[in-house]
């Protein structure tokens, strides 16, 4: 298909709390991706950076920051931000340049050095900023929103703390041998249920930590790719959708939903619409997926994604999990990488890291956690302030 592009190379800097500058993580990931692609940095025509907002000005202009660190080469540049969806914004920007014929080969890079503890808003007295106000007025941390969604599953579908704990256990068993993961250990149900409660019903081991890390991709036109490889992984769909009015599910960082009293509801709720567009672009559906990397900011949130992706009907996610369908070896393994439960979140790198994992899986290169015979994989997440993010890859 003419609207596909190739993933020529992928690279990551391991996740952790390394205490170094984010640029270092991004450059290491970029160098690995270039080596993996067999493309020289000087041949890259376009650099798409995923911004970090917690590392000063260099983070706001991440594309140029990485380009300078790799050595000014005259490449064109863009930097973008979409909270947790930042990586998808950068991928979408590079893809549009390639599909428009404006460049043949592009580098996508995202990296972060994260603070300890809860994500807090930018400092100062800013009563016009809902992200500041939600902390000031409600003390509504990110886990508060995750806790609301988790409790809602318990109240309407009868989900239990045990179901949520099983997600964490599954992902730890998937990811503990992943060389790029931060938490290289397996957890038991008891470990999870004995960890301290943070935002009921979610405990410490069910809530994603914040990490340092970096991830990068070399993307190219199909013509360019044919000069380098015979059977590349391709990007068949990229979704960066926003919600439709009225948005009736409470979202970070908001105090309230839109009112649905005067206007018709959209045909598709926001979180369902994210994958829907990627499926439409790829001409594929949930039944075609061999694996999925989803954003388990909390263990319970992974279950919501099963339904938003169309892997099962609303209310059936716990059954899908407990039947082993989403475990490696099952029908549709989810978070074979170990997910955020094994990584912690490095915001602008995470959506790119999801694409790295699916690429390695489709090439059959991941060893212990390989999903055998995988040909189609999907990544999905959502950034606060209304950013959808989904990529479909195939081989």
């Amino acid at each position: 298909m003419s609207d596909e592009i190739a993933v020529l190379g992928v690279g990551m800097h391991p996740w952790g709390k390394w205490g170094r500058n984010f640029v270092e993580y991004g450059v290491k990931a970029a160098q690995d991706a270039l080596a993996d692609a067999g493309v020289a940095w000087s041949d890259i025509q376009f650099v798409a950076g995923g911004d970090t907002v917690r590392n000063g000005y260099p983070g706001y202009v991440a594309g140029a920051t990485f380009a300078q660190a790799l050595g000014w080469s005259g490449a064109q540049v863009a930097s973008s931000y979409g909270a947790c969806a930042t990586g998808a914004q950068a991928i979408a920007t590079a893809r549009a340049q390639i599909l428009a014929g404006l460049c043949d080969v592009a580098l996508v890079v995202g990296a972060d050095a994260a603070p300890k503890g809860f994500f807090a808003p930018t400092g100062g007295d800013r009563p016009d900023d809902p992200d500041w106000l939600r902390f000031r007025v409600l003390g509504a941390t990110n886990p508060i929103y995750f806790g609301l969604y988790a409790r809602r599953r318990m109240e309407i579908y009868g989900a239990t703390e045990l179901d949520f704990a099983r997600v964490k256990v599954k992902n730890s068993q998937h990811g503990y041998t992943n060389p790029n993961a931060r938490y290289k250990k397996t957890f038991t149900i008891e470990d999870v249920l004995e960890s301290p409660m943070v935002s009921d019903p979610l405990r410490l081991l069910q809530i994603c930590a914040t990490s340092d890390g970096g991830a990068a991709l070399v993307l190219s036109s199909m013509d360019y790719a044919r000069k380098h490889t015979t059977d590349p992984v391709t990007v068949a769909g990229v979704s960066t959708v926003t919600p439709q009015f009225p948005q009736t599910v409470i979202e970070m960082p908001n105090f309230a939903t839109d009112s649905a009293a005067t206007q018709p509801l959209p045909d598709t709720p926001f979180k369902d619409s994210i994958a829907q567009l990627a499926y439409e672009q790829a001409g594929l559906g949930p039944e075609d997926l061999d694996l999925a990397e989803v954003y388990d900011l909390s263990s319970a949130l992974e279950l919501d994604w099963y339904e938003n992706l169309g892997l099962c009907n609303p209310g059936d996610a716990e059954k899908l999990l407990n039947d082993g369908d989403t475990t490696i070896g099952g029908r549709i393994p989810v978070n074979a990488s170990g997910g955020l439960g094994c990584f912690g979140e490095a915001v602008p790198a995470q959506a790119i890291a999801q694409v790295c994992e699916v690429t390695w899986q489709l090439r059959g290169e991941v060893g212990d956690r390989q999903v055998e015979g995988a040909r189609v994989g999907l990544t999905i997440n959502q950034g606060l302030f209304g950013h959808g993010s989904s990529v479909i890859l195939k081989r």
């Binding site: 009563p127 500041w132 806790g147 935002s199 105090f255 309230a256 839109d258 206007q263």
Partner: protein, 147 residues
């Protein structure tokens, strides 16, 4: 409410009717399409099918049904002003029937997640968010309607 004789000010100017007998959140309503907004919109209507830019004040329903709930077991970071020693507190998402919207709020102290159940009727009350040297800062909180 506090016994100290400090002036009471709302946590966010213009969001709260500071009437203890009849408190409410103050939203706005678009004069064109009648859509209600909270926090209040005052410039442009966010309904993509409406070009409205005039709004009237619209107090929200004081009662609604509990959509979901959770709590803070640890003190939230700045700019939240946490009590010392910190007392865990619940946060509720409450669905207002007339407005067809869900509004977050802290739950009154003394009511914990074990006391809550989705679908319960909740009522908005005024309560202290924190006190500083000059003022008592007042916020809305959700309280179960006594059965």
């Amino acid at each position: 409410m506090s016994s100290v004789e400090k002036p009471q000010i709302p946590a966010v100017e213009g969001w709260l009717r500071m009437d203890e007998a009849d408190p409410s959140l103050l939203g706005t309503r678009c004069e064109e399409c009648r859509t209600v907004y909270f926090p209040p919109e005052r410039t442009f209507c966010r309904n993509p099918r409406c070009a409205g830019s005039s709004f009237e004040e619209h107090p929200l329903s004081r009662r609604g049904r509990l959509w979901s709930f959770t709590n803070n077991c640890y003190p939230p970071p700045d700019p939240y002003v946490a009590s010392d020693p910190f007392e865990p507190y619940a946060i509720a998402a409450v669905e207002l029937e007339a407005e067809k919207m869900v509004v977050l709020g802290q739950v009154v102290s003394g009511v914990n997640v074990g006391d809550l159940k989705a679908g319960m009727e909740m009522e908005l009350v005024l309560a202290t968010l924190f006190e500083d040297d000059e003022n008592e800062v007042v916020v809305w909180k959700w309280q179960p309607v006594a059965a």
